[in-house]
């Protein structure tokens, strides 16, 4: 917008042409962005024969909405995977937000020996990639007999360095006076945290919640390592397995892909505003 103002000097017609060109560019890019989705959705309605047709057809010659029912019926694990994904994502989201907020509170508002060192230690883990820790993490969980259980997926993800950093930074900006007022009223640290700090931190918590949820929903590598029984799998894991089983039925694989994507797409539409804001503050991770 700022630049649009800056261009106020340009004659009106030049401005209009420029605007049209910009929109054309944006629409073209939009088409490019959406085309894989559109082709997939159309492909999901094609027959097994037509999906392998050469050259490919754009619209299905015969529409097969029954593909959706077929996949759901032939593969009763799909609803199960959906629930697993949902349950794990919600659990990780709630616990991660809570634990990161707690840690953020301690780091931003409390004084204790070792605070700086601990905070630096947390930050340092941002630089440790998953590939270094995935093998020992698996072995530790195996020793604890937690491999192939939900906690194996949940535990390592419920206090993330990025989340703690975000909460700490946010809470530092909350005026001290509010906290003081609560203290004068005789509230302890826990009450202050729960009644004063948490309600004020809702924006940061929302951002963190959305990313925790999305991250868990789409996570593949870690569940792949620790979940061995199909009834515990999440949607991406199940879908990957499904696609190797039904190599000959690309149309079904596309149906499964749509099942996996729709919940996130709905979430994005509902929480659009928050998501944009939180991507902007956190860089999308």
């Amino acid at each position: 917008m700022a630049t649009a103002v800056a261009m106020g000097k340009t004659p009106a017609r030049g401005l209009a042409i420029r605007q049209i060109l910009l929109y054309v560019g944006l629409i073209l890019f939009g088409v490019l962005t959406l085309s894989p989705f559109i082709l997939s959705i159309l492909g999901a309605f094609k027959s097994t024969v037509e999906i392998g047709a050469y050259p490919p057809t754009f619209l299905p010659q015969v529409w097969h909405p029954d593909n959706f029912i077929q996949v759901w019926k032939l593969f009763p694990l799909f609803p199960r995977w959906f629930l697993n994904s949902l349950g794990l994502s919600v659990t990780v989201m709630v616990l991660n937000v809570l634990f990161c907020a707690m840690a953020g509170y301690a780091f931003s508002r409390l004084e204790f020996p070792g605070r700086n060192i601990l905070f630096l230690a947390v930050l340092a883990t941002l630089m440790i990639p998953l590939q270094v820790t995935m093998v020992p993490k698996f072995i530790m969980l195996a020793r604890l007999h937690l491999v192939n259980t939900y906690p194996a997926v949940i535990l390592p993800n419920v206090s993330t360095a990025a989340g703690i950093f975000l909460m700490t930074q946010f809470m530092k900006a909350i005026p001290k006076e509010l906290e003081e007022a609560a203290r004068i009223d005789g509230a302890g640290k826990f009450t202050t945290f729960w009644r004063v700090i948490l309600p004020l931190s809702v924006p940061a918590m929302t951002a963190l919640a959305i990313f925790s949820f999305q991250g868990q929903w789409n996570d593949f590598l870690w569940p792949l390592i620790v979940l061995t029984s199909p009834h515990l799998w999440t949607l991406p894991l199940g879908l990957a397995g499904f696609s190797t089983e039904y190599v000959s039925n690309t149309n079904w694989v596309l149906v499964g892909s749509i099942f996996t994507t729709i919940p996130m797409a709905i979430l994005v539409f509902v929480f659009q505003r928050y998501i944009v804001k939180s991507v902007a503050t956190t860089g999308g991770k």
Partner: protein, 314 residues
């Protein structure tokens, strides 16, 4: 990765300096204790699954371990890793992948953000549309693009319109094009996220600056070059760092689309470590390779971070 680009919130508070005002603390020990109670979950999770895990990885990297028997192996895992042709190949692949993906996705995201910043209306609609790929699971993305890249598929048909010889080309079956095909998939899905980071970075540039520049006669390209880009530098750095970290860990697309092939042309370090540890059960070797990789990334990130720290505030 939360590196707050927009220091509106808590801008004055530098990283760990903490609480500011010092009030009279009647019983400091109690507050200490309270603090640790608040930190217990974080200490257990991060301490256990990162620091202890690192220790375990370091320990195992000196052993021959197949998940069943543990056998001292001196530094042979490291020697083997350094001489491992697959490891070299994986490193080369991922550097190639990182350079191309980070460069292209940054340019693409910035371009779109700049265009979006200049249109009169409808920004929200475009933003939502562009954002869809970013929320799509990488497995779904991989499956869809595998299908698009199949011989005689949509990519073949599109490219075949110009070069008929390529109509039945197997993009994912040729060592020369498999990795670029994965790069395309990744860029398609990540550019949107970074576009939004750029859009908000652009909004933070004070309008008065443009106004002042306009009076000085700087419009269009000149204002872009002289004002927008320099002020966007911290954001560009942020996007580059996040992109680097993300690309170095690429795994899902490789697993779904090519399984590391053809001829190891899409083998990446994470995929290699995964297969060595969990398919071949050469756990010690996998840990040694992970450590070497960690040292490389660590050095790399430190260098990058130095840049960020000096430029993040404006």
């Amino acid at each position: 990765m939360a590196i707050d680009v927009r220091p509106k919130v808590g801008a004055q508070a530098k990283v760990p300096t903490g609480g500011g005002t010092r009030l009279k603390r009647p019983r400091p020990y109690r507050e200490w204790l309270t603090s640790y109670v608040f930190l217990i979950p974080a200490i257990i999770v991060i301490g256990g699954f990162t620091f202890v895990a690192m220790g375990v990885a370091l320990f195992l990297s000196f052993f021959k371990y197949d998940l069943f028997t543990l056998q001292w192996n001196d530094i042979h895992n490291y020697i083997k890793a350094v001489g491992n042709a697959d490891f070299h190949k994986a490193m080369l692949n991922v550097v190639y992948y990182m350079l191309v993906v980070v460069t292209l996705q940054t340019i693409l995201a910035l371009t779109i953000a700049l265009v979006l910043d200049r249109i009169m209306a409808g920004r929200g609609v475009f933003r939502t549309v562009y954002y869809l790929p970013a929320i799509t699971s990488s497995v779904v993305m991989g499956l869809i693009f595998s299908w698009l890249f199949t011989p005689g598929g949509w990519v073949g048909t599109a490219v075949g319109g110009v070069f008929p010889g390529l109509r039945n080309f197997g993009w994912l079956l040729d060592p020369g094009t498999a990795l670029p095909a994965i790069m395309t998939t990744t860029i398609w899905s990540t550019a949107a996220t970074f576009m939004i980071v750029f859009v908000s970075g652009l909004q933070d540039i004070p309008a008065q600056l443009y106004e002042a520049a306009r009076i000085d006669g700087a419009v269009g390209w000149r204002s872009l070059w002289n004002i927008t880009l320099p002020l966007l530098r911290p954001t560009i750095f942020l996007v580059t760092v996040l992109g680097t970290i993300g690309t170095l860990q690429v795994f899902d697309q490789v697993y779904v689309m090519t399984n590391g092939g053809p001829l190891k042309s899409t083998l990446t370090p994470v995929f290699l470590i995964y297969t060595e540890a969990f398919r071949d059960y050469s756990v010690g070797l996998a840990c040694a390779e992970a450590f070497i990789l960690f040292l490389i990334i660590f050095t790399f990130t430190l260098i990058q971070r130095r840049f960020i720290d000096t430029t993040i505030e404006y």
